[in-house]
Point group: C2
Chain length 174, copies 2
């Protein structure tokens, strides 16, 4: 990449143009979108011998869909991503987790979007009251982990951070 320059700037979304040269000498301009980094958390608990996961049922207006998602939010300036994950769990669900551990990090669109999404894992949670971010979700529920594959197949879990986090946890149970 020889250079990049902004073509649209804003506190939430920047669009950059990059001057790129490939291995064979081909040179072209390519768009890059830069957005803020985010952190999400897969919170599980065991109740009556079955594993459950903490999900929010919410409407995403950008895609005009209702989906189940794990708690998630933007990382504030200078904030430790693990703290973002803990904070968002509590603000969005009213449940507090003692500790989160890193699960993995990913890029939502490797070819065009400059943003990193950090995924964390927590086990058990304590109910501390109504969510303070009341607008985040229509409902908050502990969903049996065994029902997650069906929710994925029916398109009710359909956004990347939730899919990657939940599938990673399901795959590790193999």
């Amino acid at each position: 990449m020889h250079a990049e320059w902004p073509v649209y700037e804003n506190p939430w979304v920047d669009v950059l143009m990059a001057d790129v040269e490939l291995g064979d000498g081909t040179r072209f301009d390519h768009h890059i979108v830069r957005t803020r980094n985010a952190a999400s958390c897969v919170v599980t608990r065991v109740r009556d011998g079955r594993e459950e996961v903490l999900l929010l049922w919410r409407h995403r207006f950008a895609i005009d869909k209702w989906v189940w998602e794990i708690p998630s939010g933007l990382i504030e300036e200078g904030e430790d991503p693990a703290e973002t994950a803990r904070r968002e769990v509590e603000e969005e669900t009213g449940w507090r987790v003692a500790e989160v551990t890193p699960l993995l990090a990913f890029h939502p669109v490797g070819g065009m979007l400059r943003a990193e999404y950090r995924l964390f894992r927590a086990r058990d949670a304590e109910y501390v009251g109504e969510p303070t971010e009341q607008n985040e979700a229509e409902k908050v529920a502990w969903v049996p982990l065994s029902e997650v594959p069906g929710l994925i197949d029916s398109g009710q879990i359909a956004t990347a951070a939730s899919l990657v986090g939940l599938l990673r946890v399901l795959a590790e149970q193999k």
Copy 2:
């Protein structure tokens, strides 16, 4: 959502502003980024009793990382997404698949990005020659599926379409 209007437009990336009202009456403007839809394909085969998956090792300049990815590309105007998946496998790897079946569809960033990524699955492939998109990858390889969890943990598989597709295939083997 009351209305939306473009603030930056281009054949590859549009930035829209949306006038949104929440359930409690809170009303605000929110950015939406719209990009083209894409299709990707998890291609597996069995060799010497072990399952392998067809991956590309490529540099993603938007995130400045080398990553393993499944074949993937933008859906052309009017193109059947399954055909996109078949076409990209062949153009990017030089391997041809007879048939692809839908795996799942997802949205890379539910809260802000209006784009749908379609994932497909194919079994077996026939080598038909050098990839026609020579610039797509540094190398093309059949990687044992058993090595995929380690590549995820080490950050060598780190982009959403590849993670979701590969984790979905790993999870279904449970």
